[in-house]
Structures are given as structure tokens and as C-alpha cells.
Amino acid sequence: MAKVMGERPKALLDVPLHYCPGCTHGIVHRLVAEVIDELGVEGRATGVASVGCSVFTYNYFGCDMVQAPHGRAPAVATGVKRARPDNVVFTYQGDGDLAAIGMGETVHAAARGENIVAIFINNAIYGMTGGQMAPTTLPGQVTQTTPYGRDPATAGNPIRVCELLSTVKGVALAQRVTVDCPKNVRAAKKAIKKAFEYQMAGKGYCIVEVVSTCPTNWGMSPADSIQWLRDNMLPYYPLGVYKDVGEEGEE
């Protein structure tokens, strides 16, 4: 047997993940860790955990970790990066953290062109607190706090983060990916790797939005969740590159 596929990346510590069965957080964790391994930066990487399901990322990534208050990961990451410019700094944030309470910090870190990577998990719901409406919850989507379905007239409209950030100067990469099938997982990894490489090249703020599932709070099996993601999430959150300054960087 010459090749082994699926071995745990070194940057992902050998501990069981606390996530629910079928939660795509696990896939994204592995991708980030694989990228850290491939770039050989674990020894100079610092991750910033946010509040929500992904709060425990500090237990999973092998690099140094800071846990930030809800929504403040971009500010904490800014502090780390400014103090240790040689460190590779990333945040790992959910949609409530990044797009609701932390939108201010996110937009301003982006506008500063802060040299950090944001891994943004969009699963259209608050997971940790048990399935309430997120800023990304789709119109009509039933959650604990939109029991009759999200009515944009009263509950507002879902925010398309990559589209929004694509208008901000300072953003080097804004790309939306998903992890519903092996092909898209590979594409997601490529985007994450590009984001880290852009940071190392000093290009500015990079965000990789991963359209994800939450089988538990969506009330579906992981398989059905994947299908629901394709049928409902992707039409509202189209995959693609919303901004990429490329090799030359921003003018």
C-alpha cells in the first residue's frame, strides 16, 4: 500500500470533535489543518476562536489559539497580527458571530486590509444556542425564533456577506464555497489555501465563506441536510469568487 488518504493532518489535534454527526464543521477544520500543514506554518500560526459551535476550535487546532468574545474575533486577530506580524493569523467564525454581532469588526478589519484570514461558516442558523434565527437565515426558514418562517418584513433579510465585502477596499479575497460533495470540498480547500497564501504575501483581508449544514437544528438527517443546502442555500448564496485581487494585488 503506497498511499494513504484521509490521515489526520498534523495541525488537527488527535481529539474527538464535539460537533453533531454530519456537521460540516469537521470537514472545514480538516481543510484548514491540511492547508496549515501544506504551507508548513503551524509553528507560526495563531487561530482565533469565536463564540458559537466553533468556540472549541481552540481544542482542535494544533497551533496557538485565542478565544475571542462574541463577534470580536477580527479585532482580537488584529491585535495578534499587529503584535506578531510574522504570525499567520486566522479567525474561525460562524454566521451569528461574523454577520450579526461582529459585522462591525468584520467590515472594519476588512476595510483596514488587515492581514488575516476569516473562515466563515454559514449554516443559516445559530447552532450552539439551539437553532435560532441567524443573519443568514433564509426567508421562510423556520427556526426557534422564526417559528412561522422568517418574514423579511419583520425579521429582515438574510445578509450575503461575500457580496457585501466584495465592495470593500482592503479585501484581497472573498470567495464562497461549500462542502456538499468531494469536488466542492477540494475547491473549498483550494480557496482556503489561497487565502492563507494571500495573507503570507501581505495582500490583505481574506474571507472564505463556507455554506454549511446544521442537521441537528435544521431537524434533518445529514444526507437530507446536504440536499436542503443544495436546494435552498446555494440559490440564495451562489458559490463563486466575489473578489480576488490576484497576483498583482489591489490597485
Partner: protein, 76 residues
């Protein structure tokens, strides 16, 4: 012949590998219940495995490894 190994303790029985397998040779093994109460996945017909790695790519828990003679081109 490719060899698929499932870590029964880490598997949460989510079936992400089951739906990802192009040869439909993965399913949950209801005869086993792991310490967390899950039925882990297992290979039903090892002879049909093409070693594509889809199961391991889709596994959220790093619970599957696939050993092959030669790595498929797509798996980087």
C-alpha cells in the same frame, strides 16, 4: 485492492460517507454500537472499492482512511 478503514470509536454514523460513495458500498453497521452510541460505517463489498477517497474527504471526523496502491489524481 484499496483498503478502507473506519475508526469505529470516532465514527458518529452520520452517513456522509455513505452518500458520497460512488459505488454505494458503505453503510452503517447496526451490529456495532460504539462508546458514544453510534453505529459506525463499514464497507459492504470491499472488492468494488475504487479507492477514490470520497468517503474520507466527506468524513467530518477524520474517522476513515483509505489505502491505495496509487493516489488518484483528483486527490491532492
Amino acid at each position: 485492492m484499496p483498503k478502507v478503514t473506519v475508526d469505529n470509536d470516532r465514527c458518529k454514523g452520520c452517513e456522509m460517507c455513505v452518500i458520497a460513495c460512488p459505488k454505494e458500498i458503505l453503510e452503517l453497521d447496526h451490529s456495532i454500537t460504539n462508546s458514544k452510541g453510534y453505529h459506525p460505517a463499514h464497507v459492504t463489498d470491499a472488492g468494488k472499492c475504487i479507492g477514490c477517497g470520497s468517503c474520507t474527504i466527506m468524513c467530518p471526523d477524520c474517522a476513515i482512511i483509505v489505502e491505495v496502491e496509487r493516489c488518484p489524481r483528483r486527490y491532492s
